[in-house]
């Protein structure tokens, strides 16, 4: 998609990423307030709104975390405005506190919450199944399969939200969010942004004790009404066939089912029930679908969420139906699906022969024996690499002195310290948890605990754990890697950036001032690129008999490049002077920069189109053989 398409005022057919379609759907529904914390696979919803911000009058925030983002939306909704947020499922864990409460209090303006699961844990710490938020919070949930359906559902979700005064979850998975296809744009008719008067709207959004008990009954009533309404929803439909076999499916699995039936030559030979409203489920629709079936195949990723309901419904509707799913071992609860897995599952349920895809994989594997892995790694010029080199040296010095360490990693680009060839991390958990567990470990182990956290993660979830450390006198070392942006998800702004959403001027929130105000006694601020100096600072921090905090600061290389391009500054690469290089490989040994290769003389060579000109490797060379290219003027 190009921005011009996204902004189109009239009906049009365009190629769009699902995340863009979600944003467009919200715009078409006249959304007024959007707030996000970035996280794969939803970040492009944020990015699209940020890019388009100058063209509209919606209010947008890149919030400090998902809970705050949902609260921003709730505030707007209480005042009658339509609002939307999107987050990955682990972000929904953070936001769940307010989500559960909103289930009770209800909302006024349409509030839509996109929760994206990541089956296969492509870019997440777990394969969480976010569908369970919906029944747990008594909040309705819609599940799209494609960008078009996602856009349609977002628009409908605002209506449902306002009709029933409840937040609506749009639940996606990575293969839906990161799916592009043809999307029909409808007219964009936006009303002007207008503040409300609270005294004209005034009502109480409260829940506690007796109020909560009363609201619980209302929630049950609301859910019953929604269930009735969803029986007629256009998002649930049946594809009938003259057959006693039926497939029940939802989300991206529906597309795999269509593909699998085509591959098996079973198109129009198997009944399909495609579910789009997955909470509350249209139980009558399911019941009448399974009546008369001999076999029901439930195709869903992760937990047997639909399957358990089907078992319960079948007990009355059709006790003799054979159910194929997770329970029968037809499908696994682990990992994401693909067309081949679904072909295999449906074929085995039908008692058909299927071609063994495993043999293709095995044959391919033989060809791949010697190919090098390509783990995610730090970009050329990444300040985290420089911080790691200095920290590694400092740790080595301390080990020689008899001090051993526990390394608590966290969520951000620096997470890549867990991957080879660095592979240094004793734990890597969830946002801000490095500081949290450092508290407990400082009581429990003799070794010095070193925790790391990035700027965005610090604001997001690490501050309470740091206050806890100061208050309780816990002794460990915390490195705060401040690279100015939320780098891993695409360099979005955060409180360490001088900009807010849409690159509008914002106020930076000083990490060191927070640390000082909390009462951190040992606080140092260093330039990540200054490796030599930093070894000594890190060493002192490790030796400090108390809580020590070092802020290692240098902007993200990709963000820095973007700023350089904006200012018209060149990126000047370095090169290895072949006459001076004596091949001790100090530039390579713990540095692992993707700009480096070994040439035919076994000397290091720097690819000029990858080198970012950070200069850090040049300082590691004992022979001063790494030099800056002279700029032609």
């Amino acid at each position: 998609m190009v921005l011009k398409d996204f902004l189109a005022k009239e009906q049009k057919t365009v190629f769009m990423l699902c995340n863009e379609a979600i944003a467009r759907g919200a715009l078409e529904a006249d959304v007024k307030v959007v707030a996000f914390y970035p996280g794969a696979p939803t970040s492009e919803v944020l990015d699209t709104f940020s890019e388009a911000l100058g063209n509209f009058d919606y209010q947008m925030e890149i919030a400090t975390n998902e809970k705050v983002a949902l609260e921003v939306c709730a505030g707007a909704s209480f005042a009658g405005l339509r609002s939307l947020t999107a987050m990955k499922s682990v972000g929904a864990n953070v936001a769940s506190d307010i989500l559960f409460v909103l289930g009770y209090t209800g909302v006024r303006g349409g509030l839509v919450l996109v929760i994206a699961d990541d089956p296969h844990a492509h870019s997440s710490q777990s394969e969480e199944d976010g569908r369970f938020f919906a029944p747990n919070a008594y909040v309705p949930m819609l599940e799209p399969s494609s960008p078009q359906e996602a856009k349609d559902m977002v628009k409908k979700a605002f209506e449902i939200s306002e009709r029933h005064r409840v937040p609506v979850i749009i639940r996606t998975v990575t293969r839906v969010n990161h799916q592009s296809s043809i999307v029909r744009l409808e007219n964009l008719e936006r009303t002007a942004f207008k503040k409300a008067k609270w005294k004209e709207l005034k009502e109480e959004f409260t829940t506690l004790g007796e109020v909560a008990r009363q609201k619980k009954l209302e929630m049950l009533e609301r859910t019953a009404k929604l269930a009735e309404e969803f029986e007629k929803s256009e998002f649930n439909f049946v594809k009938r066939a003259d057959s006693d076999v039926g497939v029940i499916t939802s989300s991206v699995s529906y597309l795999y089912v269509l593909e699998a039936l085509k591959m098996l030559g079973l198109q129009e030979k198997v009944n399909i029930l495609k579910l789009g409203t997955t909470y509350p489920l249209p139980k009558n629709t399911i019941s009448s679908f399974i009546k008369g079936l001999k076999k029901a195949v439930i195709v869903e990723e992760l937990s047997p969420y639909l399957e358990k309901e089907v078992y319960a419904i079948a007990k009355a509707a059709n006790p003799s139906v054979a159910i194929f799913g997770k329970g029968s071992g037809t499908f696994s609860e682990a990992w994401e699906f693909n067309p081949n897995i679904v072909v295999k599952g449906i074929a085995s349920a039908m008692g058909m022969e299927y071609v063994d895809y495993e043999s293709i994989i095995q044959e391919a594997k033989k060809l791949k024996v010697d190919i090098p892995d390509r783990y995610p790694t730090f970009c050329a010029g990444c300040p985290h690499r420089a911080t790691f080199v200095a920290l590694n040296q400092a740790l080595r010095i301390q080990v020689a002195k008899g001090q051993e360490h526990y390394f608590a990693n966290d969520i951000g680009c620096y997470s890549m310290w867990v991957f080879p060839p660095i592979s240094r991390s004793d734990s890597s958990l969830c946002m801000g948890a490095s500081v949290g567990v450092a508290n407990g470990l400082s009581h429990a182990i003799e070794e010095r605990v070193v925790a790391v956290v990035g700027d965005s993660t610090f604001y997001h979830a690490a501050i309470p754990a740091l206050i806890n450390a100061v208050h309780n006198g816990n002794k460990f070392t915390l490195l705060i890697l401040d690279n100015s942006v939320t780098a891993m998800t695409g360099q979005q702004s955060n409180p360490s950036t001088e900009f807010t959403a849409g690159w509008r001027q914002g106020k930076k929130v000083s990490i060191e001032n927070i640390c000082r105000a909390i009462g951190v006694d040992f606080l140092e601020i260093v330039d990540s690129y200054d490796v030599k100096n930093n070894v000594e600072v890190f060493r002192k921090a490790l030796e400090f008999d108390g809580l020590s905090v070092v802020i290692s600061r240098r902007e993200c290389a990709l963000y820095g490049d973007r700023n350089k391009r904006r200012r018209g500054e060149p990126i000047v690469p370095f090169y290895v002077d072949k006459n001076l290089c004596k091949k001790p490989y100090m530039c390579l040994r713990t540095f692992y920069c993707p700009a480096y290769e070994i040439d035919e003389d076994q000397q290091p060579r720097i690819s000029p189109d990858i080198c970012d000109g950070c200069s850090v490797c040049s300082k590691l060379c004992p022979f001063q053989s790494i030099k800056r290219t002279e700029v032609k003027t």
Binding site: Y256, D373, R374, P376
Partner: protein, 226 residues
Amino acid sequence: MSLPVNKEDRGENLSRNIFLCGVGGQGLVLMTTVIGNACAKSGKKVVTGEMYGLSQRSGTVSVHLRIGEDAFSPLISYGDADILVALEAIEPLRYIEYLKKDGVVLMNKRIMHPPIETSKIITAKGTKYITVENIVSKLKGWTPNIAVIDALKLARESGNVNTENTVFLGCLSALEVFPVEENYIRESISEAVPTKTIEQNLKAFDLGKENAYISLCTLVPCKRGH
């Protein structure tokens, strides 16, 4: 080995499957946008599955791209891709299971050695880098239809070293199995790239196409009219 499911069983396959791969930062997403927009302009159904969650610069990136009325799934089935396009030379091997046995590999001559490979060379004596020749000989165990394109050289000739992805769009456009008309691709390129690089990108496209007629069209059918 036969194809996963006999073609006769599933009737006429209307869709074309193209698997794109490379290294983060090479412009795979832009390439996908160009093809997708061209499909939208020409009224073709298209669906893609894109993988770039945790991929930084230098990580592996892949896109499943499917064009046609019966393309439902955003992921290509194993052994079902008509074309495997690789902007980097090691990557086609990583995803070879997606390619048909007689499918086409369009690969860059350029290797970007991952840091882990380089670190092995300095720590384990006698270790050598994988070469394009190694890779091509392995790929030949899967398909005879392999074209190695010196895209960096052609990109330089276009006047913009960052147009390697556009060179491959040119190569693709020559192939008979690629179902999108050239004029739509050119129009989409002009809309998707920065204005001041349009001319260079269109040049890169032409260079890629010409190159395909030399290196590829002797192996597989190409569109006429060249």
